[in-house]
Every structure is written in structure tokens, then in C-alpha cells.
Amino acid sequence: MFEELSQHILDIAMNSLSANAKKVQISILESRKRDWLILHVRDDGRGMNAATLKRVLGSRWSSKKGRRKPIGLGLALLRQTSEMCDGNFHVRSAPGRGTSVTASMRLSHIDRPPLGDLSATILALCATDKKMDVRLNYRTDEKRFSFDTQELVTKGEVIL
């Protein structure tokens, strides 16, 4: 359903926004040497209790037309992608304690979606109605990139 991992990231971070998060931290670790890719999204939103978590993880994508409740569907989708690519998927959440989502996958797996347009994802998160600080850490074997909306606002200039 999602063709790019960056779409998954946007979807998960939009959940953070719905959970009234003030801060969302996105980390991407990509290692060719170790042959893995790990996505990690952590927020300080309202969090979920065990029953809600079970429900959102249990939802299955259906192509059936008609009304459905898409809430939480994104987590199930990411789990599907991660497991399909020999990875692990893990969510930690508790009411008032925020939510943390970790999805790993084998970098070289033939079904692994490309990371895609990560900058469009970040731009979309910068354009939300609510004030949510967005941080990104992207690391590969050779490169490292970080982005923080707070930094852009307070320092008022582009720093790389």
C-alpha cells in the first residue's frame, strides 16, 4: 500500500500528531555493512494503553471499499513491511508516556521498499496545524544528517 518507507514514517508521525505530541523524533539507521535498516519513531504524545495497542496492531489492511476506521492501521502496515523483510517490529507505549515504534528490516531484502522522498515527509510534518517539534536523525555507514525544526526556528538560519 505504501511504496516508500518515508510514507510509513509520515503516517506514524501523523499518529504522533493526533496523540498531541509536542515532539517527535525520527531515527533512521542504514548499514550496508550490517545489512540492516532500522526505523525508530518516538513521541511524547498521550500514549496508548495495552488494549488500544493490541487493537491497533491487530488491524489488518483490507482493500474492501467502504467506510473503515483507519486509526492505527499504519502501525499494522509497518509491521507487515518489517516482517516481510526479515525484520522485527516493536511498539512501546503507555498512557501519558508517549509511544515509541521500532521497525527493522534487512536492507538487501528484495521486498524492502526504498526510503523514498524523505524530505517531502519532513516538509509535510513541518506544515501541520499544531506545533510539533520534528527531529530527524539519518545515519548510514558514511553519512550522517540531522534536522530539527526547533533549530530552524530558534537560530533562524540554515545550519548543516
Binding site: D11, L17, L118, S119, A124, F147, L160
Partner: protein, 124 residues
């Protein structure tokens, strides 16, 4: 993603944050829930941002929201005018997004064949 794209990202994000200041004539609201993203809402948003910049329209603000409850007609783009009038555009793709910018946002002419329904009061 290369370094150049990332540099551009910082510049673009900054512009976008700066554009939030002040009251704009038009406010474009794009729904970015799961079904919206799957239908291409993110690409629509990017196209609109690019077109708005290309045409130098500085009286337009682009915002992203969660699910509108209109998941069958995503991507959904709403144009809100300073006077309070709202137009809802449905099933928008890249070409239609460009058209909304060049007609509605630039010339002030609604694109009637892309718009859906009439302004409705929320039945909540």
C-alpha cells in the same frame, strides 16, 4: 537522499515555517491520514508547494491535517479563503494540484469540475 536534497530540505522547511506568520488570503489544507498518504497526498502537497513558490504566491499558506473522514475520495485538498469560504477538492493528483494553484490560488477562479459538494455544516 543526497546531501544537496537535504540542504534544500532545511531551506524549504524554513520558508514554510516563515509562511505561517500573518494572515493569508488563502489557506490550503491537505489531509494526510493513512489513506491520504496512500493515495498520494504527500506528492500533491509537494507539487502545490513547488508551484506556489514558482508562481511567487506569497499570500497562500499550506497546511497538513489528519484524516478528514473522506477516505474514499483522497487525496483531499481544501482551499479556505480569508472571507471564510471553503472549497473541497477531491481525488487530486499532480496535474489537478497544478491546476488548483494556477486557477484558484493565482487567478481566484474556483475549479468547479474538481470541487465536491457544497459547504456543509459538520454534523457532530
Amino acid at each position: 537522499m543526497n546531501l544537496e536534497q537535504l540542504k534544500q530540505l532545511k531551506e524549504k522547511a524554513q520558508k514554510q515555517i516563515a509562511l505561517r506568520e500573518g494572515n493569508k488570503k488563502y489557506r490550503v489544507v491537505i489531509s494526510m491520514g493513512t489513506s491520504g498518504i496512500a493515495a498520494g497526498a504527500r506528492e500533491v502537497m509537494k507539487t502545490m508547494l513547488d508551484e506556489i513558490e514558482k508562481q511567487g504566491l506569497d499570500d497562500v499558506e499550506v497546511r497538513v491535517t489528519g484524516e478528514h473522514g473522506l477516505e474514499n475520495i483522497e487525496p483531499v485538498v481544501q482551499v479556505e479563503e480569508a472571507g471564510g469560504e471553503k472549497t473541497t477538492y477531491a481525488e487530486i493528483d499532480i496535474e489537478k494540484a497544478k491546476k488548483i494553484v494556477s486557477e484558484h490560488l493565482q487567478k481566484g477562479r474556483k475549479v468547479d469540475n474538481l470541487a465536491v459538494g457544497r459547504e456543509k455544516k459538520k454534523s457532530e
